[in-house]
Amino acid sequence: MSAAVTHPTAMTPESDNFLTNSRGFLSWALTLDHKRIGLMYLVGVLSAFGLAGILALILRAELMTPTQMFLSNQQYNQVFTLHGAIMVFLFIIPSVPAALGNFLVPIMLGAKDVAFPRLNLCSFYLWLVGAVFFLTAMLATGLDTGWTFYAPYSTTTQGPVVAATLGVFILGFSSIFTGLNFIVTINTMRPPGMTWFKMPLFLWATYATSIIQVLATPVLGITVLLLAAERVLHIGIFDPQYNGDPVTYQHFFWFYSHPAVYIMILPGMGIISELMSVHSHKSIFGYRFIAYSSIAIALFGFLVWGHHMFTAGMANVTTIIFSALTFSVSIPSAIKVFNWLATMYQGTVKLNTVMLYALAFLFLFTIGGLTGLWLGALSTDRPLHDTYFVVAHFHYVMVGGTLVGFLGGIFHWWPKMTGRMFNELWGKISCAIVFVGFNLTFLPQFILGSRGMPRRYARYVPEFQELHQLSSIGAFILGFGLFVALGVLLHSLFRGRRAPMNPWGGATLEWQCASPPPYYNFKHPPRVNEPYDYTGLRYRDAEHGWEYVHPESDKVSAPEATPETKPASN
C-alpha cells in the first residue's frame, strides 16, 4: 500500500462524498445508501426527542406547585402519555440502532451497504408513517392511557386507542426490519479475516439488540392488534366485560416491552465499549466477556417480564421465580461495567468531550442498575411499586444510560459522519451541564418515591414541594445542557475544522474510511486485524489525526481515495 492511500488528510472528493455525490430532495428521499438513511433517522429521532423533551418540561413546570398551575388533571394525563409514548416508540427504540447503527454497521464491516438496502429505506418510511399516524392520532384527540395501553382502561376510554396502537404496530415492523437487516448483514457480509471475535463490540451489541427486535417485537405487534380488535369487535381476550383477562394483556405487553428495555440499553453499552477503548488508547479488557454478556442480556431479557407485574396478583411462586431471574440479569451487566473500568486502568485516558460522556454513562447507568435491585426484590418492590422511585430508576437507565451513551456516540462519530470537528471546550461544558442537570432532576425523585409519592399524579401533598421543585429546576438545566450540545454540533457544521480520517486513533474499520466516507465506503472489502490493537498508530500534529506509521500494509488496508471506475450508483 502506498503512503498516499492511508494519508489521513486525503479528503474525499466532492463527487464521492456520500453527502454531496448527488443533490436534490429526491436523491435523499429515495436513497438506498445506508449512511443517508442513518442521517435521516438521526434527524427524525432527534426531532421526536425534542418534542417529547418539551412535553417533559411542561410536566415538570406543572409540578412546581402541589396545586393546579396550567394543566388540568386530564391534560396532565394526556401530556405524560404523549411524553412516554413518543420517547419510547419514536425516540429511544430507534435511536442508536437505526441512526448510528445504520451508519456504522456496514462501515465497521467493511461492506458497501446493509444486506437489504430497499428494506432499509422501507423501514425508515414505516417509521415515518408510524410517527405521523401516532402523533396525529394523539394530538388530535388526546390519548390518556399511558404508553403501556393497559386494559381494561384502554378498552373503555374514549381516546384514540385504535389509531395509536396501529401506529405502534407500524413502528414495530420498522424496528423488526432494521433488526433483521443487521442480523443478515453481520452474518453474511463480514469481510475476509473478520471472524466473530474480531468484530467491534458495537456490532456485538447491535447483533444482540437485533435478536431481541426480531424475536420480541412481533409479540407486541400481535398484542396491539388484539387490543385494537378488542376495541372494535369486543373479542373478549383482554376485556373483563366479555370474560377477558386484563392481566393477560400485561403478560403479552411486557413479554415485548421488557426485552425492549434491552433494545434501548444494549446499543448504548456497545457505544461505550468502543468509546472506552479508543479514548483510553488501550485494548478493551475482556473482549469475549463483553461480547458474550451482550448476548446473555438479550436472552435473559426474555425471562424476566413478570417483574413489572409483581403487584398484579400473580402466584407467589411465580413472583419468586421472576424475581430470581431478574437478579440474574445484573450479572452480565456488572461484567460490562467492571470490564470498562478495567479498560481505563493504566490506559492513556483522554478527558475529551466523548470520554466525559462515556464516564457520565458509567456513573449514571450504575446508579440506574443498582436501584433496579430494590425493584427486583419482592419485599421492597411492594412499597416502591408505581412510585417516583420507579420513575427515577428507569430514567437513570434510559436517559442517563441510553441518551448519554447516544450523545457520546454522536460526538465520537460526528467527525466521521459530517467531516467536521466540533468545539471541544463547549462540548465538555455541555456534558457538565447535562450531568448536573440530570442528577438534580432524578436524584430527588428517588427520595420522593421512597417517601411514597406515586407516579403519574398531577397533584401532591405540600410536603413534597421542595423535592419536586429541585427536580423541576434540574429538568430545565438538563434541557439547557442538551440545547448547548445541539448548538455545539450545529456550529461545527458551519465553522468546524475539517476532520481527519482518524481523529481519535480508533482501530476499527470506520476509521480507515475517509471523513465523510465515500458513498461506496470501501472499494474492496478491507482486510482486518484486531479491532482494539492500537500498536502502530501515531498522532500526526500536522493533520491533527492518527495514522499507521509502520508500513504493515499486509495487515491493514484502506480504501483507495479515487476509484478508477464508478460502481453502479444507487
Binding site: 443478515v184 424475536l215 417485537t217 369487535l233 370474560n243
Partner: protein
C-alpha cells in the same frame, strides 16, 4: 499478498457487469443468495412469534374454559377444514415444484406451477369465505356480538348469504378485469401479457370454484345430517326422550344441521350431560322459553354467559383471519413471481426470490396444519 488479493477482488468486481441480477453491494451471487435466504428465515421466525401470541391466548383460554371449546368447536365444519388442508398441502407441492423449475430454468414449468399454487390459494379463500359467512349468518360471532340464545332463534339463512355476495365483489371484479385483459392481449397477440393475465384469470375464477365447492359440501352435509338425524330419532327417540318438545326441537335441529354437528346427535344417549351444549338442549330448551329463564334454570357455565362461547369464535376469527391475510399476502408475492417468471428472470444462477416466497408459502401452510386440528378437531 495484498496485491494479489486486490487483483482477485478486482476480477470479482468485473464480473458484476455480466450478472445483471447481482446487487452492487454483494460480492458474488452466492453471497446474495445466502443473505436473502437467511433474511427470509429470520422473517419466518418473526412470523412464528407473531402467531405465537394467539396460540398462547388459545392455550390459556382453552385451559380455563375447556367446556367452551368442546361446545363451540362443533359448529366448525371439519369436512371443509380437511378439504382446505388438502388444498394447501397440494399448493405446497406445486410451490416446491416451482422452485425446482426455477433452478432448472424451465420457464413454462415455472409458470404452470405458480399458476397452480395461485389457484389453490384462491380455492382456499373461497372455501373460507363460505365458512365465515355461514357463521355470520347464524350469529356465531366474536364475544362482543355473540348471543348465547342463537340456538333458539331460527336465523338459518336459505339461499346465498348476503355476506358471501359482499365478500365476492372484489374477486368478481378481478374476474372481469383479468378476463378483459386476457381477451385484449389475445386479440392483440400480446404473448407476455396473455401469459400473465391468463393465470390471474384462472386464479380469480378459482375463488368462485372454492365458493362452489364450499357450498356443495355444506349442503351435502346438511342434508346428510337431516337424514341421519331423522333415522336416529325414529329408532330411539320414542322411548328415550318422551319429554322432548316439538317446536323448539325442530328449531334446534335446523340449527344443528346448519352447524353441521355430528357429536351432539350421536352422543345424546351415551354421555352424561357434561357438555354444556347438550345439557342446555336436553334439559332446558324444551322446557323454558326465554333466555333469562334458561339462564336461571341451568348451572352457569361460560357457555351460557353473555358472550361466553363467543370467546372461542373470537380466537377462531383472529387466528384464521390473520392466516387468511397471510394467504392474501402470499397471492401478491406469487403474482410478483409470476410476472418475473414470464419475463424469464430466473435461471440456474438466480432463483432466490422463488425460493424465498416458497419458504414463506410453506410456513403459511404449516400454520394452517396447526390451526386445523386445534380449532376443528376437538371432540
Amino acid at each position: 499478498m495484498a496485491h494479489e488479493l486486490t487483483h482477485d477482488d478486482a476480477h470479482g468486481h468485473d464480473e458484476h457487469g455480466h450478472l445483471p441480477f447481482l446487487a452492487h453491494h454483494f460480492e458474488d451471487p452466492e453471497q446474495q443468495f445466502d443473505a436473502g435466504k437467511f433474511g427470509m428465515w429470520m422473517f419466518l421466525v418473526t412470523e412464528v412469534l407473531f402467531f405465537s401470541g394467539m396460540f398462547c391466548a388459545y392455550a390459556l383460554y382453552r385451559s380455563l374454559h375447556p367446556e367452551v371449546w368442546t361446545f363451540a368447536s362443533q359448529f366448525l365444519n371439519e369436512i371443509l377444514g380437511a378439504f382446505n388442508t388438502i388444498v394447501l398441502l397440494f399448493s405446497s407441492l406445486t410451490m416446491a415444484w416451482a422452485v425446482r423449475c426455477a433452478q432448472k430454468h424451465q420457464r413454462t414449468g415455472l409458470i404452470v406451477c405458480l399458476t397452480l399454487t395461485l389457484a389453490c390459494a384462491a380455492i382456499f379463500l373461497g372455501v373460507k369465505a363460505v365458512e365465515y359467512t355461514h357463521k355470520w349468518d347464524i350469529g356465531l360471532l366474536p364475544a362482543g356480538s355473540y348471543v348465547p340464545q342463537f340456538i333458539m332463534a331460527n336465523q338459518h339463512h336459505e339461499g346465498i348469504s348476503p355476506w358471501l355476495i359482499r365478500l365476492s365483489i372484489l374477486p368478481a371484479l378481478c374476474v372481469i378485469g383479468f378476463g378483459g385483459w386476457y381477451g385484449w392481449s389475445v386479440m392483440n397477440k400480446r404473448k407476455y401479457a396473455a401469459q400473465i393475465a391468463g393465470p390471474l384469470l384462472i386464479t380469480s375464477l378459482c375463488y368462485f370454484l372454492g365458493v362452489g365447492i364450499g357450498i356443495a359440501f355444506q349442503n351435502a352435509e346438511a342434508s346428510n345430517h337431516a337424514v341421519e338425524h331423522h333415522a336416529e330419532e325414529h329408532a330411539e327417540g320414542e322411548h328415550q326422550h318422551e319429554e322432548e318438545g316439538h317446536g323448539e326441537d325442530a328449531g334446534y335441529h335446523q340449527e344443528n344441521e346448519a352447524g353441521s354437528d355430528h357429536a351432539l346427535a350421536a352422543s345424546t344417549e351415551e354421555h352424561a350431560p357434561s357438555v354444556a351444549g347438550e345439557l342446555l338442549v336436553e334439559e332446558n330448551v324444551s322446557l323454558v322459553s326465554t333466555p333469562a329463564d334458561r339462564l336461571k334454570a341451568v348451572p352457569i357455565t361460560m357457555v351460557d354467559q353473555p358472550g361466553g362461547a363467543g370467546l372461542f369464535f373470537s380466537i377462531y376469527y383472529m387466528m384464521t383471519g390473520i392466516h387468511a391475510l397471510h394467504i392474501i399476502g402470499g397471492i401478491i408475492a406469487l403474482t410478483w413471481l409470476l410476472v418475473r417468471a414470464v419475463r424469464d428472470d430466473f435461471n440456474e444462477l438466480y432463483f432466490g426470490p422463488v425460493d424465498y416466497v416458497g419458504l414463506y408459502w410453506h410456513l403459511v401452510d404449516l400454520i394452517w396444519i396447526y390451526l386445523f386440528p386445534l380449532l376443528y378437531l376437538i371432540t
